[in-house]
Amino acid sequence: MDRHDRVALAALLLPAATVFVAFFLIPLARLFAIGGSGPRGWSAYAAVLVEPRYLWSLVSTVALATATTVATLAVSGVSGVFLVRHRFPGRDLLVAMLTLPLAFPGVVIGFMVIMLGGRQGAVPEITDALFGERWVFAYSMVGLFVGYLYFSIPRTILTVMAAAEKIDPRIEEAARSLGAGPLRRVRDVIVPALRPALFAAGAICFATAMGAFGTAFTLATKINVLPMVIYTEFTLQANVAMAAALSFVLGAITWAVLAAARSASGSTVAAAG
């Protein structure tokens, strides 16, 4: 590669790198410093593990994000593969509908959950008609989970579908002709072929769920996910130091999971689509 090209490449990367360093890395460093400058000092960073309130909120957030990711991948996997494999009238419409909530802010998602499971929601009306009792789930953990599922499915299904398109049908044919039943084919052919995409999509899904705030904000449940706690710390008593420390821990955990997923799937961010 000649020198002229090397200079050109560096010049092309420079703007993005500059913006990134100036507006992200340096502010994050400052946030880190502020996290340790509050009344608790640097032990604020340990507070998330030591204080029951913060620890409980961290555990709930991780549990919720994990459950969301697993459920989302299962649903997206099944529906995504199905939609890629079969052509039927209305298929394109279905795909469009499945990606609809992609841009919705958390507030709208929370409202959708209230439409589904709030006091006047669709599901309580149905259960009222069937069982005589309204199942109002919007303000419980179920409602939060439903909300998280709601914004995660659209994000993952496109990635899964793109990867499913690339599965070589001849391998499956070979498996079938060798006597493998459908479930066996799924387990040994389809899932391994989708693995990189599932990891990549799952990682993004997990990250989004960990940082999701608008949904919990609207639903006002008793479950305090960590982003809500951070928000309350900041807006309650301007406890910037604690808010900063908690944000950092949340970001670090999420990033660690993303990195682990990337190395486990053995591919870069780019190749996984």
Partner: protein
């Protein structure tokens, strides 16, 4: 090939339809609520566009600001992200891998944290703090990885090296190769990335909630306010306005992500 109408097909179709219903029914309910005279009474109270009109009168400026930020965000991510993706595609060493990891960070770090970081660092610059550019910075940080990812995926799947070598051997300079060969071949990735950036920017809430001021409310922020304090019909009408803007973009995104046959974009 497998028989098309097996029992498994119908079961999977039913499942997929159920998932679609789960996603779409609340949207339809919300759109209906935005046009109902009285939500508590239901559609029997009559349909009206009054609420939509009220939203447009009171909150038009949030729509304009959100569109303004989304377009500016797109411009920034194109200028910053496409060249960066090219570099990452051409060179693959420890440094570029580190750059890729770093670029993903704003997606991993919660939006609240990024906003807090910006506030503690730049909050003292009064004019910046009070302007819409402050929100733009946050949006660019968050959407840049998506643009880079989208373009890089396309670049990785086409044989850039051979194409460029071919052009270089014919005497094309660097700029000519970049604008004449590389970019046109990445068009699907650029288009998909652009649509992604615009839709993400329009819907961004976590960061914008902390970065905005009463002078710079975006659509999602206004929407949150409307749900909290106004009648639910107004909030729903506001959501309806949001859908009308965003749904065409989403449909276009879905079309642009669709592969065009063998050996294609993704």
């Amino acid at each position: 090939m497998r028989p098309r109408r097996s029992a498994a097909f119908w079961a999977l179709l039913a499942f997929t339809l159920a998932v679609c219903a789960f996603l779409v029914v609340p949207v339809a309910m919300s759109m209906l609520a935005g046009m109902t005279r009285n939500y508590f009474v239901g559609w029997r109270s009559g349909l009206t566009l009054d609420w939509v009109l009220k939203v447009w009168t009171d909150y038009r400026h949030t729509v304009g600001l959100s569109l303004q930020i989304a377009i500016a965000c797109l411009a920034c991510t194109l200028v910053l992200g496409v060249p960066a993706a090219y570099v990452l595609a051409r060179r693959s060493n420890a440094f570029t891998r580190a750059v890729e990891e770093l670029l993903v960070m704003p997606v991993a770090v919660p939006g609240l944290a990024t906003a807090l970081a910006l506030i503690v660092t730049f909050g003292g610059w009064g004019d910046l703090r009070r302007s819409w550019l402050f929100i733009l910075i946050g949006h660019v940080l968050f959407t840049l990885p998506f643009m880079v990812r989208s373009v890089l995926a396309v670049m990785a799947s086409i044989d850039l090296r051979t194409l460029e070598e071919g052009a270089r051997s014919l005497g094309a300079g660097f700029a000519q190769r970049f604008f004449g060969i590389v970019l046109p071949n990445c068009r699907p990735g650029i288009v998909a990335g652009s649509l992604m950036v615009v839709t993400l920017s329009l819907g961004e809430f976590n960061m914008t909630l902390l970065l905005h001021t009463p002078l710079t409310p975006t659509l999602p922020v206004g929407l949150a306010d409307a749900y909290a304090s106004l009648r639910i019909e107004v909030g729903s009408a506001y959501t309806l306005v949001f859908f009308v803007i965003v749904v065409p973009l989403l449909v276009a995104l879905q079309r642009a992500s669709r592969p065009r046959g063998r050996g294609a974009a993704r």
